[in-house]
Symmetry: C2
Subunit: 176 residues, 2 copies
């Protein structure tokens, strides 16, 4: 099963693709780490109009879906009261991601930051750094030079955490 | 010049298409009313997933652009502090509309509710009904049975007001 995790944003949308070999409906063996297939960021600059930036995000997410054929997409829910200024552009970015998922018929699951923290660290008030560290521990990152891979490591790392959350929250993958 | 006005929403996106015969860079003759070409609503029901609803909105806006070939799109800006509950779904709908405009290379202009009220009624605290009434007065609605045309008249009427705002705010159409 392939999971595409996404941390949406207008300037930077982090993505992380992980693969688990656990068959459907079987309890997950926690010793078998999900393998990281790829991670990185879709970035857009202010030299583009808001519409053009959304067009880039939509196109790049489409490319990721075509390339990696995820079984599900896992995306972070927004807490608008935490991000009053960014809620509108981030929601617009999320809108075109939800559109891409619907057009490609990939089911999309949303998790709140609290759910991600609870699933990955086991503690709802965990720091961002702790989530990123645990994400690294829980995933098989062999083949990646994590430091070199991405300039915007944080967003990509968050996206891997969101992908991992989908696995941990649904250990049997009974996502139907 | 053809203007597509849009009042975005997940359940109902109102649209209104108007046409002015004023040539570019010439002051507008206020006695020549812009002609209403079409108006109505794109509606989606809760029986669809959020992604499917966005897909319907994106597809229907694309159809409107293909059919009417607007020179510009005029859309209402959101005031998030007025609509805390709906800001996320409405922004997502707006995101896929902005995407459609960018994909079709139609310039998009945003107007706040205050700008629409000022332009159409001349008074920033005008009631919704006043804006709708003035919109009707200022547009050439010949050929339409307004009462019959749309079940969700309000959203379509708002969209016509938003389209009209673009004309009134840019009487010379120097939109470059």
């Amino acid at each position: 099963m392939i999971i595409l995790g996404l941390d949406p944003g207008t300037a930077t949308t982090g993505y992380g693709i992980i693969k688990t070999t656990i068959p459907k409906h079987l309890p997950q063996d926690r010793n078998e780490k999900p393998k990281v297939i790829d991670f990185g960021c879709v970035t857009t600059t202010q030299s583009f109009s808001a519409g053009q930036r959304l067009e880039i995000i939509h196109r790049e997410i489409n490319k990721l879906i075509d390339k990696h054929k995820p079984d599900i997409i896992s995306i972070e829910s927004l807490y608008f009261f935490k991000n009053l200024k960014t809620v509108m552009p981030v929601s617009q970015a999320k809108g075109v991601i939800m559109l891409a998922a619907a057009q490609k018929k990939v089911p999309i699951f949303e998790f709140t930051p609290l759910q991600v923290k609870m699933a990955v660290v086991g503690y709802g008030r965990a720091e961002k750094k702790q989530v990123q560290e645990m994400t690294k521990q829980l995933l098989d990152l062999s083949g990646f030079d994590v430091k070199k891979k991405s300039r915007k490591k944080d967003d990509a790392s968050d996206a891997l955490g969101i992908a991992l959350c989908a696995v941990l929250k649904n250990p049997t993958f009974d996502l139907s």
